[in-house]
Structure formats: C-alpha cells, structure tokens
Amino acid sequence: MDILILLLALFVLALFLGVELITKVPPTLHTPLMSGTNAVSGITLVGALMAAGTDSSPALVNWLGFVAVTLATINVVGGYLVTNRMLAMFKRR
C-alpha cells in the first residue's frame, strides 16, 4: 500500500513536471519532440525485459515477451536515431 501511494505520487508529480517542460518547447521543434518522446516511451523495453519470462515460463509468455522487446527496441533505436537526424539539421548556422 505504501509503495502504491509512492508510485501514484511519482506519477502525478511527473505529469506536472511534464506540463512545465513541454510548454517551453518551441513549435519549431515539435516534430523532433514527438519522435524524441517516442524514443522515451521505448522505456517499455525495461518492462518488456522484466516480463519476457523465464526458462520455465509457458512459450506464450516468451513469445509475447519477444514481441514486446522487438517493438520497444524499434521505438528506442528508431526514435533516437531519427530525432538525432532531424536535430542535426536544425543545428546548422
């Protein structure tokens, strides 16, 4: 129960922090912001690793874990790379 309250507090505080941060991002960078947050939402990779199952899990769990790891990795690798590609263009001059 204590843990739950802590997690909830973390969630709510992160929402407020998110509002403060995101409203300061200029419209020019809104596309990289979206692809960058796509990459951050690839943090589900951590959850996918935790849920991927053990040697003794049913095969269904392993396969679901495989799909989760694949999709999350696409987000992480694709998201950060494409954001970097875009931002590098903005850097010039």
Binding site: L21, T31, T37, V46, G47, A51, G65, T70, M86
Partner: protein
C-alpha cells in the same frame, strides 16, 4: 544487484530523460538533450538486464536484434516529408509493446499454460493472491486491463493513421452511428474490464477487452481526414505514453511511470495546441464533421471573373523590387518536395537585398512542426521560421507574400464570415500584405471544402502548376533580371 541500487540507477535515468526534454527547449541544446536521453535509456536497460535472472535470453536477444535492425533502417531511410508516417508507426509500436507486456504479465500471474487455442477459451481458477494482496492485487489487474485497452487502441489507431498518411487508405470508413458505435465499443470494453477485475481468471473477459479495443482503435481513426491528422498523431503519442506509465504500475517500476507520464503530457499538450490552432474541440475533431451547417457557399460567385493568374516570370518582376517577402508553406510544399527550391528562391531574394521570412501556421502539414523540419532539411536557418502570432503583425509591411501549398490557414473567412464553418480559426493574415502570390494546382478547395476569397482579391495573383517547377522558374527569371 541490490534493489536499492537498481532504483537509484532508474532515478538517474529519469533525470536524464527530463534533462533530455529540457534540451529540446532550444535548437542549440537539442542534440545534446537527445544524447542525454539516449544515455538514460542505455543505463535503464543495462541495469535491468543485470537484475533479471533466469530469463530465457534467446527471445530477448532475438527481439533486440530484430528491433534494432528495423528501427535503424526506418530512422536512416525515412524522408523528411514522410516523418508523420514514421511517428505514427512509432506511436503504434509503443502501444503494442505496452499491450504485449500486459498480456505476458497476465498469462504469467494467472498461471495459464495453454497448449492449444481451446485452452485459452477455458476459464481458469485463479488463486486470490496471484495479483497481490487485497488492494494491490486489484490495482494490478486494473492496470493490466487498462494497459491492454489503451495499448490496443494505440496500436490499431496508429496503424490506420499510418495507412492514411501513406495514402494506402484513401476513403473514410466509419461505424454506423459514428460516435455512438465507438461509444458502444468502449462501453463493452469497460464492462469486460469490470468483469475481469471481479474474476481475474476470466479469460473471455480479457479477450473481449483486447478485441473490442483493437476494433475501437480502427474505427476511431478511420473516419478522420488528412488535415486533422496532426491532432490524431499527437493524441496517439499521448496514449502510447499513458500505456507505458500504466505498464509501470503493473510492474511497480518507477522509471516506466516517470517516462510514460512525460510522454503522455507531451502528447496531450501538443493535441491541445493543435485543437486551439483549428478553433475546434477535441471531440469535434474526433467525432464531428467539418463544414456541417452554415449556408452552402457558391465558389463560382466568389471566384467568377475576379481571379487573376500570372506566369512565374511576371511574379519575378514583382519580386525584383520587394524589400520584404514572407513565404507561407503548407502541405502542398511537402507533396511537391519543393522545400529546396523554396530555399533557393529565398537565397536569390536575399541576394538582391530583400528580407525573407517564413510564416508557419501551427497546423500546416500533417503533424506539429512538420514544415519546420522540411525547411530545416533545406538548410533554412531556424530563426527565419516565424510562428503565426509573431508574423501576423508584420504583413502590413510586407511587399510580397508567397503562399505555396497552403489554403485554409490563409482563408479570411475565418476572420470575417460569421456563418462559415472555419469562423474563429486563427489564420495567417496574408491578405494584409501589399501583394499576394498563391502557387497552387487549381482553385480546388482545401480540406475545409470552402472557397478562399483571398484568391479573388485585387492584390492576389494565382500561379497555377506544380509548386516546385513554379518556384524554380521564378528563381531563374529573377536571376536573369
């Protein structure tokens, strides 16, 4: 590794994500911010790999290899004009990842060992403590159900958005009853969720949530058309974050909750910005129809005999004496891949001493910031890209405005004609400029389906044809003068 150390590393990762987004508040610090964020991701993943024991690593390694390959190819090959499709796909994959995590947790905790499809249809007796004691157990199963619901809607909704942006799906399909049909799907999913919470072993309820949510995602996005896509993409972006945060509640994982919340708010704020820029509510975008009501406006009456057209070399004569030129890009510029040609025209104008700026409407293009990325690709410095509110007061001192591939965002009816469906939408007041050049294929209406009185004004000339070709001809003619 001790759990405290792991939590500490997660905290560092969360701080790096926050600093990463903070870096995005300025173009100068943005690349470094992205790097910090990626470092945080590497830390979080590494420490997780060190803690999970007993894992069947063959599936993990295969997943990472396939994901890295697919993600890497997508990121390096995608054209800047196709960025909305790319982001739509990534949203969908994020939702899909959260969805499969929740399903894997469900199967593990229920202790389901299916050997055939018919096993899945059998209800399973679940021990009371499978999901945790008392309230914790309830929260876990509610989180699992909600993650499946939101993750599935994000997955199919994003795939439809991708298909529409890629122009694989051109027609708008919807459920009979529109919003009502979607409402029934949502209601069915929520009822199934309640049944599941009361009896976590009820597999049929879990499958019902999954199926209904997958359908809901499809039917929610299918009726929505091109120019409303910025709102849809931003909203699905938000959903993918919320699904990640919920997955964090299932696993009791702090970094998932923080990162998911940040992404969730980011998407919501962008959704809000897009809606304000179209003067429409979110429910109107999702369920409403544009141009409903209001008297039928006769395009011929507005255009008849009043529209002047010009050739590119005539426009060049006008541009030769201009002191200040503002370029208004729209989705048509992206379609024609004309961003480099536009930059070259701007260079020619600057070469003869004119001041050139770009006026960017928040919903120009198919996603937030779409035009800025295209022009950045063409090496236009970002301080020349001016937001609507800052460019609008300058039009009266502007000699020539060049509108390329934009329509509704310049329509003065939004300001003046109270009965019009777009009345009240903030627009770029290009009609206040001394001369307006509109580059367009024909007089066909934009997404709002309305004629644009700007095209018939005395100080407006139309240049018909392909945007890229017209701009190149203008530049050539200007350089020869």
């Amino acid at each position: 590794m001790s759990p405290n150390l792991v939590s500490f590393v997660y905290l560092i990762a969360a701080i790096l994500f926050i600093l990463g987004i903070k870096g995005l508040t300025k173009p100068k610090t943005a690349v470094r911010g992205n790097f910090l964020s990626a470092t945080g991701m590497l830390l979080a993943v590494t420490v997780t790999l060190l803690t999970v024991n007993n894992v069947d690593f063959s599936y993990v390694i295969a997943g990472v290899a396939v994901g890295a390959l697919v993600g890497g190819i997508m990121a390096l090959k995608v054209q800047m004009t196709s960025m909305p499709q790319m982001v739509a796909l990534l949203n969908g994959f994020g939702g899909g990842a959260s969805l499969t995590i929740a399903l894997a947790e469900f199967v593990t905790r229920v202790g389901l060992v299916p050997s055939s499809l018919s096993d899945i249809a059998q209800p399973v007796a679940v021990s009371v403590n499978a999901f945790g004691d008392g309230l914790l157990g309830t929260i876990a199963i509610v989180s699992i159900g909600l993650t499946v619901l939101i993750g599935a809607v994000t997955l199919t909704g994003s795939l439809v958005a991708f298909a529409k942006l890629q122009e694989l799906m051109k027609k708008a399909y919807g459920l009979p009853g529109g919003p009502l049909g979607n409402g029934l799907l949502l209601l069915g999913a929520v009822v199934s969720l309640v049944i599941l919470v009361n009896n976590p072993g009820n597999l049929a309820a879990m499958l019902a949530i999954l199926g209904l949510a997958l359908l809901l995602g499809l039917f929610l996005v299918m009726p929505i058309g091109g120019a409303d896509m910025p709102v849809v993409i931003a909203l699905l972006n938000s959903y993918s974050g919320i699904a990640a945060a919920l997955a964090g509640f299932i696993l009791g994982n702090t970094v998932l909750i923080v990162a998911g919340s940040l992404v969730g708010t980011s998407g919501l704020i962008l959704t809000q910005i897009m809606c304000v820029a179209m003067n429409r509510s979110l429910s109107n975008v999702l369920f409403g129809k544009m141009a409903a009501g209001g008297e039928e406006i006769d395009a011929d009456e507005i255009y008849d005999g009043k529209v002047t057209s010009a050739q590119p070399d005539e426009v060049a004569l006008m541009l030769e004496t201009a002191k200040r030129v503002v370029i208004i890009p729209g989705f048509g510029m992206a379609m024609a891949q004309a961003q480099h040609a536009v930059r070259e025209l701007a260079d020619a104008l600057e070469g003869q001493g004119a001041e050139v700026e770009y006026g960017i409407h928040p919903v120009a293009g198919r996603m937030p910031g779409h035009m800025n990325v295209l022009l950045a690709e063409a090496e236009v410095p970002y301080d020349k890209l001016v937001e609507m509110d800052r460019i609008n007061p300058t039009f009266e001192d502007t000699d020539v405005v060049i509108v390329i591939g934009a329509n509704d965002v310049t329509n003065p009816m939004a300001r003046e004609s109270e009965g019009s469906p777009i009345y009240g939408m903030p627009i770029l007041n290009v009609d206040k400029a001394k001369n307006v050049v509109v580059i367009k294929r024909s007089l066909s209406p934009g997404f709002a389906g309305l004629p644009n009185p700007l095209f018939a004004m005395d100080h407006t000339v139309m240049v018909y044809g392909d945007g890229k070709k017209a701009v190149i001809e203008m530049t050539t003619a200007l350089n020869q003068l």
